[in-house]
Point group: C2
DNA sequence: TTGAAAGCGGTACCAA
DNA sequence: TTGGTACCGCTTTCAA
């Protein structure tokens, strides 16, 4: 049904090899032959079979991306950044969502390896590095995106999470918050390091760290905002409630917001909130949400570029870390001063 | 490097064919041989080369999905629905974003055809059906998602958009709005049909239709909310401003909301707003947004199921239309009555 | 129950 | 400049 090199070769009375060379712009073909071949290709609307090419060259020109949740605007942005870089380089993108489930993630990675994708980009929800050892065994290049692992020297593109934690916390302190709480996940490097930054900032400020105010939850349950809602409920049940909350990410912060408003408290007057990730719609929320911007689109595009460079490298490269600097975005949810916020 | 059937065959002193049969659970292999083969596969952690299999079988076990914008929560949900169905059926998903650009979309479709993906799912931003003729020429099954074309009898999974328009408009009328405006896109079937529903509802109610109140804009410029913002500005500049606005989708409505609040007007007291798509965070917005739910996740999963059935069909099927019934979700942005809204 | 041979649609190498 | 041949890893067919 579909046109093949063989068909064109037959029509023109040349060999398949010649046609193949024209296809790939080899130099050693006469202009005349080249033109005849190109003409015929146009006529028949020839499309090379990339599956066949992949088999012989060993390159599928396909990258794989695994994210915890496609609907999470942060990862959606990352995916968008990845896809635009890949498109411009002639690469396709296979996307899988792990639904925040480590088992599913392992499974998806396995599938991608079997498909012989040229490289993998992974925002992992795993606790262990087992999957990554497997990828290394197969000698496939991979890039950790956003989330990394201690003791796994791998290619990584992400943020300085300790700095994010410190930045958010300092901002809350500067807005007069005295009793700071943290809500985040477990096991994930971003959560762990941001908590570290949170602790560091409090210590620097000479403030005590209360364990009651540190809520760590895995968020298998749901979309993140549900987790935030529940976590905030716990905080609000304490005898002395916090007056500032740093949420590990924006969806979490949205749930927290719900719980606070539902309890009849005001944001930011009673409690300041700040998130992280600076999700596309953060400024449009019930109370416009302050956040630490991680430039998610850039994060995606840099990841893709790194992956491409690994794929193109002849020899194994030593792992590279690319850190995108975070940036404070102040909106109403944390703004107790009189300065007006823009519409960023 | 990677283990091949041949390696296992050599190790065990059997033929490649035998190993291949075991791999695919053929009946005509003795239990003894089968066990030996399976054991060796485990030992070597054998992964079949799907690219090779794709070449010979002509099936890549890969579906393609083209959406206008990955970060738009509506399409993100669709993608999630698609991906979960495909995963369970052993299919992978190649995603491309057209960035609302018809040329880019054509290009992406071309790429997917060249990759010999088994089927295509497309939420199109095109004005013409040229691309789809091309897909048909190649005999590849495809499903239009959410957006369809007049005079193109194709497989389609989407909503009854006229009903959506009518439902939204009627709701605004029931909430006492007298001067109704519509903001939507151009050329896209959803926008056209929802506008038709809007007109129909006004006519049924015996109300005049003012062209000033109908704003149709392509939204190449940006994320949709920017378009909504600009469109609302225009409406607010009129001598008699509307008191109810139906927005073709939720991001549009978010921009509209911004413009209205910025003008010092109240929602819903001065102007009611309703969107469509019922995006994940619609309830968390500055003013919780009423919307017409389209069950985007179901839309995605049904699309995937349809595509799979087409791929598996031996003979060409006649095009099938699957319509997901819309549902009104009332939140504060359109609620002038005294009834309290839940937290849906 | 097993396997030899042919071939899927390309590319690589080297000789003509 | 051109093309014969081998082969990428797997499946299919059919004979043993």
């Amino acid at each position: 049904m579909a046109v093949r090199l063989k068909d064109i070769a037959r029509d023109l009375g040349v060999s398949v090899v010649t046609v193949s060379k024209v296809l790939r712009n080899h130099e050693d073909i006469s202009t005349e032959t080249r033109d005849r071949v190109l003409k015929r290709m146009k006529e028949l609307n020839y499309q090379p079979n990339l599956a066949a090419r992949a088999l012989v060259t060993g390159r599928s020109h396909l990258m794989g991306l695994v994210v915890p949740d496609l609907v999470h605007p942060f990862f959606a942005q990352v995916a968008k950044g990845v896809s635009s870089v890949l498109r411009n380089r002639g690469y396709g993108l296979v996307i899988a969502s792990s639904e925040e489930d480590p088992d599913l993630e392992r499974q998806e990675i396995g599938q991608m390896l079997a498909r012989r994708l040229d490289g993998l980009l992974i925002a992992s929800t795993q606790w262990t590095v087992e999957s990554f050892r497997k990828i290394e065994e197969q000698q496939r290049p991979y890039v950790l995106v956003d989330r990394k692992f201690n003791g796994l020297p791998a290619n990584f593109v992400g943020s300085d999470d300790v700095a994010i934690g410190r930045m958010a916390t300092t901002h809350l302190l500067e807005n007069g918050c005295k009793r700071l709480a943290y809500i985040g996940g477990e096991h994930v490097s971003t959560a762990i390091e941001r908590l570290e930054g949170f602790r560091g900032a409090l210590t620097s400020a000479g403030l005590p760290i209360s364990n009651e105010y540190i809520v760590c939850r895995p968020h298998y349950d749901d979309a993140g905002d549900v987790t935030g809602y529940k976590a905030a409920k716990e905080l609000l049940a304490l005898t002395s409630i916090p007056d500032g909350i740093f949420c590990n990410n924006d969806p979490l912060a949205m749930g927290v917001m719900d719980a606070i408003l539902e309890a009849g408290l005001r944001i930011p007057e009673d409690i300041c909130i700040i998130g992280a990730g600076n999700v596309r719609y953060a400024g449009a929320l019930r109370v416009p949400l302050s956040s630490i911007d991680q430039d998610s689109a850039l994060l995606g595009s840099r990841s893709a570029e790194l992956a491409l460079s690994l794929v193109q490298a002849k020899t194994p490269q030593r792992p590279k870390q690319i850190i995108i600097p975070p940036q404070l975005v102040v909106r109403q949810s944390s703004m107790r001063s009189t300065v007006q916020a823009g519409r960023p």
